[in-house]
């Protein structure tokens, strides 16, 4: 018997009840790390590195020949106005949606933070939008926004807020906000969940002490709740922010970046370059640029707000 077999027997009190193959009882980290590492390398690291590599090639759309020319795509990106427009749209989309979701999420969480009868059901119902696939949500709102039979448009016409000549999704000034509202509908519950988890974990005593110290509920919220929740809020902003930055599905389904490029985000533009122009190297360049932008913004945020995981 070798050492491993002896160990195996020792551990089971000398009796072999279940004969696992030896590699399944290994104490060496490698067999355990291998599957996850392999997945990460194949589906994560390799595609990123390949994209980076691809961005150094110039593609001739006519001949479909790709030639190594490292600066070509990167200088094209810097001069490409559509990229910078997309950056503006993406940042607008992200920041507006984030602020609304954060404020609404906190407000709803405060309302649902109660042990009274029925609140558990309300909290559970709150999560329903999260289970709808985003593409389906997009389709649903597409119908509701429709200029001729959509319920939302209809109500807004009746209230005189918008004109029938300017359908919500087909008008430059309203299209982006309309898409943001869909995002808010679907993802605010996620914020609510995080905020609720935070609120319910807050210690009760400081609030009682504050009540005795003379704080009103509103003073207690701004002087205690918000500062005590700051870490959780920062984490929520980070998670949702990264998620919002790579928005694709709603834009693709509802406006396809239109009207014109009014709702063209970075990922949407990447998709257009890739699928419509078939310029794979340039699409890779835009994708890598998007990744770098997110990484920089997220890391600056983590540093500034001292987010801890």
């Amino acid at each position: 018997m070798n050492e491993a077999q002896i160990n195996q027997q020792d551990r089971r009190g000398g009796r072999k009840l279940l004969a696992f193959p030896q590699w399944l009882t290994s104490e060496h980290p490698f067999p355990w790390l291998f599957p996850a590492t392999a997945m990460l390398v194949v589906f994560g690291i390799y595609p990123v590195l390949y994209s980076l590599w691809l961005s150094f090639f110039k593609r001739n759309p006519a001949t479909r020949v790709e030639k190594f020319q490292p600066s070509w795509n990167w200088s094209k990106l810097i001069e490409d106005d559509r990229v910078w427009d997309a950056v503006v749209v993406t940042l607008t989309y992200t920041s507006v949606a984030l602020v609304i979701q954060l404020a609404l999420g906190m407000l709803i969480a405060l309302l649902l933070d109660s042990d009274r009868r029925g609140y558990g059901v309300l909290r559970a119902l709150m999560t329903l939008p999260l289970v709808v696939p985003p593409a389906v949500t997009g389709m649903m709102f597409l119908l509701m926004y429709d200029g001729s039979f959509g319920v939302i448009s209809h109500v807004l016409y009746d209230l005189g807020i918008i004109s029938p000549n300017a359908p919500l999704l087909a008008t430059g000034s309203t299209a982006l906000m309309s898409v943001i509202i869909v995002d808010v509908w679907q993802w605010t519950p996620f914020m609510v969940l995080i905020m609720l988890a935070g609120l319910r974990a807050l210690p009760k005593d400081p609030f009682e002490a504050a009540a005795i110290d003379g704080a009103t509920d509103i003073q207690a919220f701004f002087r205690l709740t918000l500062p005590m929740m700051s870490k959780i809020i920062a984490l929520a902003v980070l998670i949702r922010g990264i998620d919002l930055f790579r928005i694709y599905d709603y834009v693709k389904v509802m406006t396809d970046s239109g009207p014109g490029t009014a709702t063209e985000t970075l990922t949407a533009y990447t998709g257009t370059v890739y699928f419509k122009s078939a310029d794979f190297p340039y699409a890779s360049t835009v994708a890598i640029f998007t990744l770098l932008t997110v990484l920089i913004i997220a890391n600056v945020f983590i540093k500034v707000f001292k987010v801890r995981f």
Binding site: P203, D205, P206, E208, A209, A210, A211, I212, D213, G214, A215, T216, Q219, R223, L224, P227, M228, S230
Partner: protein
């Protein structure tokens, strides 16, 4: 400063009544300790006085003002919590200044009050630290500082020393008492620790199951427990209690415990044949030449005194002696109860049998 008057206070959680018609009168400047085992309602009573819990019926007045339904912030009270309840994201200075910041007190005045409180509690070096950078005792002091800066009418303490180690607890006990002697603010203090209650209180209020069992100065309660519960609860080691019966012996009544006949105080309002519990505190059961023969089971020297745990006629009893004798387990010792300090409780009602006047 103000008095606190609680009248016929009832507190229910749903159908469960936790405080049953409590009457309590705390005089201006008094230090009153609510003492009792866990779940006796002492914290609920304190929190109801604070306004953190609403009362079901009954009245609470602070000073001359009826405060039923008044928000805690409008009662002019200060409270110290068991786990300090400090504001973790604020420095010590801001923790202490918080209430005055809320009431828009001028900055100079806040500064002056915080410095005054910090000097009383020796907190000056820690004013710019966060609570997490302080030890348990320092945090407790900050919590007290937060209470005293405002000059409230009443201090409420909810088991403030429970989270401290034994040595610090003794030290803080003295500090709180000193503080009270200095500020003379009416104080209601909750604890389950009878030593804290005995050492600090002007008046001890003993509670059980939502009732007040007895109220009085510490020594009154120690010397004249009104019932069995109070007798057992106060004193460590606890009072020895022997089950027996009153019998006549010559012209005197004595208590028969198994084969023993124990002496009773004069003028006891008891009847022959009455089933009783014969109570004697360990320090009143003293080793002497011509006492009751008991077998020592354990000897516990504590330093100043020695605790002798003995078997006496089928009962376990404890005697305390300040003499340093070389007692050993299994030895026979002769113990004599000091008859003036004997307590007798009716076995049916648990109430103390009083002396005739």
């Amino acid at each position: 400063m103000a008095s606190v008057i609680v009248e016929k206070l009832v507190k229910k959680y749903g159908d469960l009544e936790v405080l049953h018609s409590i009457d309590l009168d705390v005089e201006d400047g008094q230090f009153v300790v609510l003492l009792g085992p866990s779940g006796c309602g002492k914290s609920t009573l304190l929190r109801t006085i604070a306004g953190l819990e609403s009362s079901t019926s009954g009245d609470i007045s602070i000073g001359d003002r009826l405060v039923n339904g008044v928000h805690p912030k409008d009662r002019n009270i200060a409270m110290v919590f068991q786990n300090y309840a400090l504001y973790a994201h604020m420095k010590v200075r801001d923790n202490m200044a918080f209430s005055m910041q809320l009431s828009k007190t001028p900055k100079a005045r806040i500064e002056e009050r915080v410095n005054w409180a910090a000097s009383i509690l020796s907190l000056e070096p820690y004013l710019d630290r966060y609570p997490k950078e302080l030890s348990g005792g320092q945090r407790q002091r900050v919590a007290m500082g937060r209470a005293i800066v405002r000059d409230p009418d009443v201090f409420l303490f909810d088991e403030p020393l429970s989270n401290l180690d034994a040595k610090l607890r003794v030290q803080m006990r003295t500090e709180i008492k000193e503080l009270h002697q200095r500020l003379k603010t009416t104080t209601v203090y909750v604890t389950h620790d009878q030593i804290e209650a005995m050492t600090m209180a002007d008046i001890v209020v003993i509670m059980r199951d939502g009732h007040i069992e007895q109220m009085g100065t510490p020594m009154e309660i120690y010397d004249n427990p009104s019932n069995l519960f109070v007798a057992e609860f106060i004193g460590s080691p606890g009072m020895n209690l022997l089950k027996g019966k009153i019998v006549q012996e010559g012209d005197k009544m004595v208590c028969q415990v198994n084969e023993l006949f124990l002496p009773l105080p004069d003028r006891l309002d008891a009847t022959v044949g009455q089933e009783v519990l014969y109570g004697i505190r360990p320090e009143h059961l003293i080793p002497s030449e011509n006492g009751l023969k008991a077998t020592i089971s354990v000897v516990e020297p504590t330093g100043p005194e020695t605790h002798l745990f003995c078997h006496l006629s089928g009962h376990d009893v404890c005697a305390i002696s300040r003499e340093r004798m070389n007692w050993k387990a299994d030895e026979v010792v002769s113990l004599e109860p000091i008859v003036d300090y004997v307590h007798v409780f009716d076995a049916q009602t648990d109430q103390a049998v009083k002396r005739k006047t």
